[in-house]
């Protein structure tokens, strides 16, 4: 009985710690967010009209070739650091993004000239001319861009962070059965993913093989979502390339671990007339693709929408006629939405992992009941 009380106490304490950390995250980052956003007025000038704000938000949502912490639109100064640009254009071209001078100049590498336009690198002439077609698409040649962008840097940081956190947790088990310090927070999360996501969806016998992927994806998305709420201004999980990649991983893992029954159900559905089998085949094949597609769109849209809403609310301050009235309203709304976004950050990581586990579970389950 005594021990029971002890473990319960630890459990409660762990829950409390998690809640506390979440609260601190919300408060610190969102207050910081508000203050940090103010000097970060622009990308090429002062931002205080509606169209400028739209452009600024759109710019924020996109990936960037340098890590700008903030910039002053009036003086045109930027605080941050440049990142390496890696291009494949008849050979590997590596140079620093500082050569673009924040999109203002043409970068000359050897005999080639490159220019940044809306987050994309185009090959141009020495003057940096970019030709547009009638749809306002640039017609210049786009070299293959493997640059270490802001998002790549963020992902590497998150990767290292995860290795440190969970490597530490793994090492702490060598000293004793119970983890210490931050491991106390991480362990319930790992158990949560195992007991609430993996085992119910995949089954007790087969879940172990997929735990690595599910845990990695869960924490990767969650930490990136949370980082997206910091004033660092990164938007990794709201980038379509990231979510496509994550969804493709789920897709391939699902298909490669699928058993005979799964394929049978796709190509030759048992228990229905032959005509139906033929009709169902393309639908089922399409179904395998729509599942990961739903995954990638859901994550992308949720995170992007959250960023847009928060930034729009902050921007209210700058478009308002009366700053003294609008500022507290904007602050309150932003904090409110930020708390919701904090929930969304977890929820989207959870849903992505949950659905991945569900799809894997459908592919590996034994159809004994048929």
């Amino acid at each position: 009985m005594h021990r029971n009380l002890g473990t319960e106490f630890i459990h409660v304490m762990q829950k409390r710690t998690v809640v506390k950390i979440l609260l601190i995250f919300t408060l610190v980052f969102n207050v910081a967010n508000l203050f940090a956003k103010e000097p970060e007025k622009g990308d090429g000038g002062k931002v205080n009209t509606k169209s400028e704000i739209d452009a600024y938000i759109e710019h924020h949502l996109q990936d960037s070739h340098d890590f700008t912490l903030w910039s002053d639109g009036e003086t045109g100064s930027h605080v941050g650091f440049p990142l390496p640009v890696i291009l494949w254009d008849n050979g590997l071209k590596i140079f620093s993004s500082s050569k673009f001078h924040h999109r203002e100049t043409v970068a000359q590498v050897g005999e080639d000239y490159y220019k940044l336009d809306h987050g994309k690198i185009y090959k141009t002439d020495a003057a940096g001319t970019i030709n547009y077609d009638e749809h306002h698409h640039a017609t210049n040649v786009k070299p293959l861009d493997f640059s270490i962008t802001k998002n790549v840097v963020t992902m590497i940081i998150v990767g290292v962070l995860m290795l440190l956190m969970f490597g530490g947790l793994a090492r702490s088990y060598k000293k004793g059965a119970l983890p210490t310090g931050f491991g106390r927070v991480l362990e319930p999360l790992v158990i949560y993913v195992r007991d609430e996501i993996a085992i119910p969806n995949i089954g007790k016998d087969k879940y172990r093989k997929f735990m690595g992927f599910l845990l990695t994806v869960f924490f990767f998305i969650w930490i990136l979502n949370l980082l997206g709420m910091t004033p660092l201004g990164v938007n990794v999980t709201g980038n379509i390339a990231i979510t496509v990649c994550l969804a493709l991983f789920t897709y391939f893992i699902t298909q490669f671990s699928a058993n005979k029954e799964y394929w049978k159900h796709i190509f030759w559905m048992p228990g229905v007339p032959v005509l139906m089998k033929i009709v169902l085949m393309p639908i089922e094949i399409l179904g395998t693709l729509t599942k990961p597609f739903a995954l990638l769109i859901r994550l992308f849209a949720n995170i992007t929408a959250g960023h847009v809403v928060i930034m729009s609310l902050i921007a209210l301050i700058f478009v308002a006629d009366n700053v003294y009235v609008m500022t507290p309203i904007s602050l309150l709304l932003t904090i409110f939405i930020s708390v919701i976004e904090l929930l969304v950050a977890f929820l989207q990581a959870f849903i992505f992992t949950m659905l991945s586990a569900l799809f894997i579970g459908l592919a590996v389950q034994d159809h004994d009941h048929h």
Binding site: Q62, D63, I86, H137, L144, D145, F146, S147, I148, T149, N151, V152, M155, I156, G159, M162, L163, F166, G167, L169, A170, R171, Y173, A177, E187, V190, I191, R194, R208, M211, G212, F213, L215, T216, F220, N239, I240, A241, I242, V244, C245, L246, L248, F249
Partner: protein, 166 residues
């Protein structure tokens, strides 16, 4: 949709895939495997401990039941032994009593027999003596009769009177 496709950066996709693969491999080796193994071991350990505690409890109960049973048996045995002993004692007493009675009866019978035979012997002797005496008296009387007829008759009379007095 057009915008989404336009926004798709192959470079970012490539790096993401690379980072994810590296992360998966490293985390699996250095984090997930040891963490999940430790968790499993710990849970197994707790389960085993609980099971063995349950087992011990059951064994304890068995032991207690055993003890109870043995104690009951011992008690019953003791009761049986006591009862037997009491029975034995009563039997012995009864036996002794009856034996003693028989012996006593025998002794009394013997005594009575002896008394009877003694009495018989005494009576026989008395008879003999009386007979002897009678013969003597008769002898004396005969002698006296021979001397004085009258006197003899008187004597006989007086002696006979004596004899009847005796």
């Amino acid at each position: 949709m057009d915008k989404l496709i336009n926004d798709f950066s192959f470079g970012l996709f490539f790096w993401q895939a690379l980072i994810l693969v590296v992360l998966l491999v490293l985390l699996r080796k250095f984090a997930w495997k040891p963490i999940l193994d430790s968790l499993n071991n710990r849970e197994e350990g707790i389960k085993n401990a609980l099971e063995s505690a349950e087992e011990a409890k059951k064994e304890m109960q068995n032991l207690q039941a055993d003890n109870e049973r043995i104690l009951n048996e011992a008690r019953a045995e003791r009761d049986g032994m006591l009862k037997e002993a009491r029975q034995l004692k009563e039997n012995m007493i009864a036996d002794a009593k009856s034996e003693a009675q028989a012996e006593a009866d025998k002794i009394v019978a013997q005594a009575q027999a002896t008394i009877a035979s003694e009495k018989k012997a005494a009576i026989a002797e008395l008879k003999n003596q009386v007979a002897g005496l009678s013969v003597e008296i008769a002898e004396k009387m005969v002698r006296k009769e021979l001397a004085d007829k009258k006197k003899q008759l008187d004597l006989v009379d007086s002696m006979l009177g004596d004899v009847t007095l005796n």
